[in-house]
């Protein structure tokens, strides 16, 4: 066996303790308390996704499922760079489940001042749920480089 200095043994012990503690904390927060990362939801064909179904023009935007409970379908697109729709209005206290996909390149979907942060890929539907407890405007912005207009790709949620 190799010689290890006493202090170095303490350091190694401390490192292992720390890493086990971190893994336990994030694991419990995720799998028992529900602070989870995105999971697979469904696949679509990016070439036809807006022609019919959930991401067709007629269905994009908010749908109230029950009082205070919504789902929102959004499309991300480059050239012109924007989200469809670019504005959503909901009452304070609403719970919204977002479904987002791309018709072209990769995008991001991050709602400012929340923990909603999604990678948007063509061919995949990203899903996340959030309850808006505070009134105000919450921009949703593209977090992935998607071409020269990327910095102008955003929308907003108005919570009243």
């Amino acid at each position: 066996m190799i010689h290890i200095h006493k202090y170095e043994k303490w350091w190694i012990g401390l490192t292992i303790l720390m890493l086990v503690a971190f893994a336990t904390l994030v694991g419990v927060a995720a799998f028992s308390k529900g602070f989870q990362v995105p999971e697979p939801w469904m696949r679509v064909d990016p070439n036809t996704v807006k022609d019919s179904g959930a991401f067709s023009d007629a269905n994009l935007g908010l749908h109230e499922l029950a009082p205070g409970k919504y789902e929102a379908y959004l499309l991300a697109q480059s050239s012109p760079w924007r989200f469809y729709p670019s504005e959503l209005s909901i009452p304070v206290g609403s719970t919204v489940t977002f479904y987002v996909t791309s018709v072209d390149v990769q995008h991001g979907f991050r709602i400012q001042d929340t923990n909603i942060n999604l990678q948007i890929l063509p061919g995949q539907v990203s899903k996340a749920t959030y309850t808006f407890e505070k009134a105000g405007e919450f921009p949703y912005v593209c977090g992935e480089y998607c071409g020269v207009g990327h910095q102008g790709m955003f929308g907003k949620i108005v919570v009243k």
Partner: protein, 543 residues
Amino acid sequence: MFAVEKKILSWHLVLACVALSIGTLFGPLQALEHMGVNLYPALQVIGIQSYYQGLTLHGVLNALVWTTFFITGFLMYVMVKTLNTPLSKPGLSWAGFYVMVVGLVMAAIPLLLNQASILYTMYPPLQAPWYYYLGLTLFVVGSWVSGWSMLATFLGWRKQNPGKTVPFMAMAGMITMVLWQICTLGIASEILGLILPWTFGLYGMDSQLARTLFWFTGHPLVYFWLLPAYVSWYGMMPKQSGGKLFSEPLARFAFWLFLILSTPLGFHHQYLDPGVPAVWKFLHAALTYAVFFPSMLTAFNVIASMENGGRARGGKGLFGWLLTLPWTDPSWTTQALAMIIFSLGGVGGLINASYNVNLVVHNTAWVPGHLHLTVGSGVTLTFMGILYWLIPHLTGKALWSKKLALWQAWSWFVGMLIFSRGMHWIGLLGAPRRTMLGVALGNYGSADWRVPTLMTGIGGLILFVSATLFFIEVIMSAYFSKEKAEVEMPVAEPLHAEVIPAWLNNWQPWLVGTVVLIVVAYAPMLIQLISQAQFTSPGFKVW
């Protein structure tokens, strides 16, 4: 002795520095843009069409070209010196170098013509011309060939010295190149299996599968950058500090752990991806914590070695040894400052790796803030520090100006702390990464962004000054220095003369461990992604 190896190394260093000199030019332009001063329109006269073309050049030239040329040259030279045996097949090293150059030229043309402004992650379905991808492939293959030349020399030495312990730095360098060979299989299969056929229109693209193959290489890539810096921190800096390597066996152990743990954790770059189940992401999060373990071993060992040096130079008391360290030696100081910055990057990296905590920072300016502490300083500043002994070693002439080199190191240190603090801060405020933040501020930013964006601008300007000092020092030292000097490669001795046990001198258990961990962490998910792939996306050119 080693005239051929010196020549090969010198050519690698020349191209590395040329790449860095062009790549860093764009850095301050990005930082200034964040501050609200966009100079890119003025660059259209020289053909730079957009912020994002500049950003792509900055990423590719600095993170890929500068690092890879430096590393393949440096590790080859360290190996032949520590084994004290010349390259067995120098022609193979030359061949590798030429293949890298051909690849670089093929990739540089579309980059400069604004045909490949897809950033260094090249996420499909952003689509560059086929020769861009082929150029990148050749560049990587060239570095493989250089690695084979090292391997041939390494195996030849082992044959001639049966049962002997391989010198630490030769072993560490070889481990790094083997890691590179294994992990680049991801990007090789992404380009050859998905992207090239797709650019020829043979089939569409599945972005999720492409991202997964990219990050198979993408994270070990950072260890490919970092481990050569660790070679210097473990193997050379104790000597430069005036001391010895505190624990050589644990240094070796750390390198073996990096070999087996660097690859099976790519999903920690994909926590937000829609196509990967959470449980796989969590497994990779746990493995990412595991790779933090050898980093912590390294922190203890290199600092204890420096303390050993400081005390040997007369330092007393709990912290007095810090003062007696060679702060007037540019090579040592530059690398010591790199270590300090890197330790901050390590803490941030732990946050990035922390699964759901990552939701707060993913795809925000926090991430390039982190990257500039790690590859932009921990690695790059260390390589600069290495050049401060390596150039005199190669030319036989003294460093042109010690003072200038020290100014360079300290200005990089200060500039990077300011720049990176601004980036981390604005990332926490929600500013996305890889974005013209000066424009975005007016779109969806807030007044809170002003101070941190100002910090990125000021930090970027200081870094630009520092980079300029660096290139002046390099050019003057390489070509115009008059004073003769004989500078030897620093090689640290171990503090305790111990017999290295066989398990630390034997590849087999570690290679088996590497393959097993990769299979466990990747195979089921890769098989699922491939079998369920939908090759639907056409290519897009949206820049």
